[in-house]
């Protein structure tokens, strides 16, 4: 029974609480993220969404509770406000560097194909410092796709993107999900993104005010509030 329930679980949080100094950020967050599902983290500003996704990705260790990721480190990817691009390197050099750090042997054609896929054809050898915000974010997306992640963490990835880039991002999220990746997504355009989500975790008053299927969240929380 227990084992069956845990099948396909990529990430599990058990009673996670976190403090900054003595100040409580949130407490007792528990959840399971399964293969091929999208979890949206939502909540008012300052509710600790970014802190929670940082804990989930392993960047911060929680003050108490445990985070269990059943995906090896090199198959996890993070896409946030920050692009991790080096401005002094070209798009291709950026990708090549991260491929090396992740121990991937990618040919120049592979990397160029990826850059074409995210719409950076013609900018492959341009230094990243000349990129617009949207282009930089697409380069960051190419880095994430290169890792072929089984677990993706998206922290408001659409910030500063134009409509076309945003559409591309959604499409890539859809296809990653179809491949069976688990996705944690902090979104500030909740209404727009909700139809892509399987689960929603709503942080409010330092705890999980709602944790359940996205459809229920729509009827129970959003429509009730209106």
């Amino acid at each position: 029974m227990y084992e069956k329930e845990d099948q396909g679980v990529l990430l599990e949080l058990k009673k996670v609480s976190h403090f900054f100094d003595q100040r409580l950020v949130f407490r007792d967050i528990s959840l399971k993220l399964k293969k091929g599902s999208v979890l949206i983290l939502a909540g008012p500003n300052g509710a600790g969404k970014t802190t929670l996704i940082n804990i989930m990705s392993g960047l911060i260790s929680p003050a108490s509770g445990s985070v269990l990721a059943r995906v090896p480190c090199e198959k996890r990817a993070f896409l946030g406000h920050y692009t991790f691009n080096y401005p002094g390197l070209s798009a291709l050099e950026n990708l090549r560097f991260w491929a090396g750090i992740y121990g991937l042997s990618k040919s120049e054609e592979d990397l160029t194909d990826l850059l074409v896929l995210v719409g950076l054809k013609g900018f492959v050898h341009e230094k990243a410092r000349t990129y617009s915000r949207g282009m930089a974010q697409r380069l960051s997306l190419a880095r994430v796709l290169m890792l072929d992640p089984e677990l993706m963490f998206l922290d408001e990835p659409a910030t500063g993107m134009d409509a076309r880039s945003r559409e591309m991002l959604r499409e890539q999220i859809r296809s990653a999900r179809q491949r069976g990746a688990g996705i944690v997504w902090v979104s500030h355009t909740l209404e727009e993104d909700l139809n892509q989500a399987d689960m929603v975790l709503y942080l409010q008053n330092k705890k999980a005010a709602f944790m359940g299927p996205a459809t229920e969240f729509r009827t129970e929380v959003l429509e009730a509030a209106q």
Partner: protein, 227 residues
């Protein structure tokens, strides 16, 4: 209004009181019990302040080292507060040790400063721990500041033997002008030194505890304010 007149003495207060009383007692030993040194005269009495502050200063820096390790292992803010309190007192004491040492050198060796390994080590440690306190003031992210300060607290103390060794080797280029600082101490002088070290030890413990509690309270007030 109901005023509570009973005086309760905290451990810090008790230690400070004991330290004050025993320092007063130590004055008797310094001025009356111990004989006046033949060549240097009264100025030699500086020694009874110089040696205790130098020793307790070093011990304070050792406390910084231990508390910093404790903080890195357990991440408890208390350890950090202990480390910074000890660093402050250690810095104060090494300032006093340097000043009194310099006075001593003027009278004894006719120079304010000389490249003596102990003197130089004290000065370099003074720089390191002054830097430690400046660093704590300068980094705004408190979690990061504590972590960096703890790392510095560890490496600073590990460095001390090397600083001393290098200072000693450095001097060997120049002829050793001065003989060892304290040769044969008179037994009365030795007892006086021991009394002074013990008395200052009590005061140091009191000061440290007091500063530690003060910092602790400051942090608690700060957290209340933020919440």
């Amino acid at each position: 209004m109901n005023v509570n007149n009973s005086i309760t003495l905290s451990p810090a207060g008790a230690l400070a009181l004991a330290g004050g009383l025993s320092l007063a007692l130590a004055q008797y030993f310094i001025w009356i019990y111990a004989p006046v040194e033949a060549t240097m005269g009264l100025v030699q009495k500086i020694f009874y302040l110089h040696l205790p502050v130098a020793w307790w200063g070093l011990i304070c820096f050792f406390i910084v080292f231990c508390a910093s390790i404790g903080f890195l292992l357990r991440r408890s803010p208390g350890m950090d507060q202990l480390a910074v309190s000890a660093a402050e007192i250690g810095l104060l004491y090494s300032t006093l040790a340097l000043a009194t040492g310099s006075l001593w050198a003027r009278v004894s060796w006719n120079t304010w400063w000389t490249w003596d390994p102990r003197l130089s080590t004290a000065l370099i440690m003074w720089f390191i721990y002054a830097g430690y306190l400046v660093l704590r003031q300068s980094i705004e992210n408190r979690r990061k500041m504590r972590m960096v300060a703890a790392v510095l607290g560890v490496v600073a103390f590990l460095n001390v033997p090397l600083v001393f060794l290098s200072a000693r080797m450095w001097r060997s280029i120049h002829p050793a002008v001065f003989a060892a600082e304290e040769g044969g101490l008179e037994p009365e002088m030795l007892i006086t030194v021991i009394v002074c070290v013990a008395a200052l030890g009590l005061l140091t413990a009191g000061l440290l505890l007091f500063r530690f509690r003060q910092r602790n309270m400051q942090d608690r007030v700060r957290d209340l304010y933020i919440q």
